[in-house]
Subunit: 150 residues, 2 copies
């Protein structure tokens, strides 16, 4: 069974922002931005995208499915690595073009393909007009070579 | 003084993901996605975009500046509403096309133009194959009509 979504063009501003109809505003490429956070800690694990098909799959199965823009394919998160994400809650923003997905990260707890818990493991510093990155010290929970080969 | 950013095309995969050079990968429209969270609680307040100019302004001033896609203009968050955001930390993701920005939300503490703390005030429910929205109960901290007119 596939979930079909309401067409946002048939709703006005107020209905989109205050209503109870889910009418996701997919972009010109048919995608929504999804921010994935960890249940309990609120930590941001990753940011990725869903199209209508993977949004429907996610809602139906309770397991995170994204759309891989690089592979142009359905991306069941963790299918290779074992790091599946169980959906606890999905929220939309005011104008319905972005989602927050709260998950339980399974496996070793690493959402990032580098083996870290989160993709956001470096901070940006402004040092006298020069921007540079500094590692925040998030440990690697797996070695990508072991998981993905290479 | 304006900060100039390294060109990601001159870096390989490993340098982009593990290096200390900030080389933001702006998309075809010259934009990065920015997820803004509240210092202390980790709550996601909003998701918006920055171009090179507003990223530079944000790093220089320590006050959140976004790029408004609808108005096609620099958007100093809170300039109209008074809800300025003071930047505590800016982080990049592994492939440098997305940022997380940790802020102190000033004013009444409402990041959303609807007057709520966060734009993510509705959850998506799947009820027998039909998706619908349910309010999570986030209160309005201001009346948009008072702040923006209308």
């Amino acid at each position: 069974m596939t979930i079909s979504f309401a067409d946002p063009k048939s709703f006005d501003h107020t209905e989109l922002e205050e209503g109870t109809t889910f009418a996701p505003r997919f972009d010109a490429n048919g995608l929504l931005t999804v921010v994935t956070t960890e249940d309990g800690t609120n930590d941001i694990l990753m940011v990725a995208h869903m199209n209508a098909e993977t949004l429907s799959l996610t809602l139906e199965t309770g397991i995170a499915h994204y759309w891989s823009r690089s592979r142009k394919a359905v991306w069941k998160k963790g299918e290779t690595s074992g790091e599946l994400q169980e959906v606890v809650e999905l929220r939309t923003d005011c104008d319905q073009d972005c989602l927050v997905m709260v998950v339980r990260q399974t496996g070793r707890g690493a959402a990032c393909h580098t083996g870290r818990k989160s993709c956001f493991y470096r901070r940006v510093l402004n040092e006298q007009g020069q921007a540079r990155l500094e590692d925040t010290g998030l440990p690697r929970l797996f070695d990508p070579k072991d998981v993905y080969g290479g």
